[in-house]
């Protein structure tokens, strides 16, 4: 809602630049216009390039986060499998009536075997990643 002061300000005469100002300003400034030949600068200051760079960073960060999550999930699955194996060995030893010391030794062997196979699969993963690079 406009009040009477605002209305009188709007109705007041507005100053305009003199007729000769345009010619004077353009005569003084136009000769200074030079094409900016620096391709690197033009790319750097281009909004399109900046948007593309930000998007690329976001995509890379997203891909990194997703691959990390997949890796963590794979390791967790591996751990679960090892735990199941150890539990199965323990139960089998108990059912076979082995003394507790022998059962413990078997379980230890089973743990070592699952660790070795997990490490081998990890090594295989890293060597595959390395060869892909």
């Amino acid at each position: 809602m406009m009040d009477d002061v605002e209305r009188s300000l709007l109705d007041a005469e507005r100053p305009e630049p003199g007729a000769d100002v345009r010619a004077r300003v353009l005569a003084a400034t136009m000769p200074l216009v030079r094409p900016d030949d620096s391709r690197l600068d033009r790319i750097w200051f281009s909004p399109r390039w900046r948007t593309a760079a930000v998007l690329a960073v976001l995509v890379l960060a997203g891909a990194d986060a997703v691959s990390g999550r997949i890796r963590a999930w794979a390791l967790a699955a591996e751990d679960r499998r090892a735990a199941d194996t150890v539990r199965a060995v323990e139960m089998a030893a108990r059912e076979a009536g082995l003394p507790p010391s022998d059962a413990a030794a078997l379980v230890a062997q089973a743990i070592a075997a699952t660790r070795a196979s997990a490490a081998a699969s990890l090594n295989l993963d890293t060597s595959v990643e390395g060869s892909n690079r």
């Binding site: 300003v25 003084a28 909004p47």
Partner: protein, 192 residues
Amino acid sequence: MTKTPSPLVISSGVRGARDDHRDAMSLRRLVRGNRDALADLYDAHAASLFRHGFALTRSRPDAEDLVQAVFLKLATTGAPLLAVRNPANYPHRILRAAWIDARRRPAAQFEEPAGADADSPALDCHDAAEAAIDVDAAVARLPAAQREIVALHLIEGFSFREAGRITGVSMFTAASRYRVALERLRQMMGRR
């Protein structure tokens, strides 16, 4: 997909048209060395810039010098012009920076008009009733920052957010300056 020029959102009732797309294209042409782009920018913005400069300096020659400083800057900036996000605000920001630079020089070119002081109280209603003055004289008595916000918001149609960006203050400060300026003008013009 083609961009259609968006009309200026006007909060004050002033009619005006702003074409950011056209201005952005002019800036791009300017970076490529097209001198006519400078003339196009002059035709689109010079009057508004002059009024902004006049609001700050209350002097026609000084306002013209500020306009020239803006176009000098535009002519010599080069590729960074491609990164300008608000082509309508940008020349006004250059003008303000040029005004501040000129005031900082040892022999300050732009003097505040007599009676314009941010700390001086406005005429009280008493005096105002006796000596109501015309709108131009009343505006001349305002401090530069208040004259500027009146010119940018009311006359040029910039929103408080945009005027705040141009003047380097928050939207709320810009709105507050505007309200204070109107209140002072009301008192000086003897209107309640």
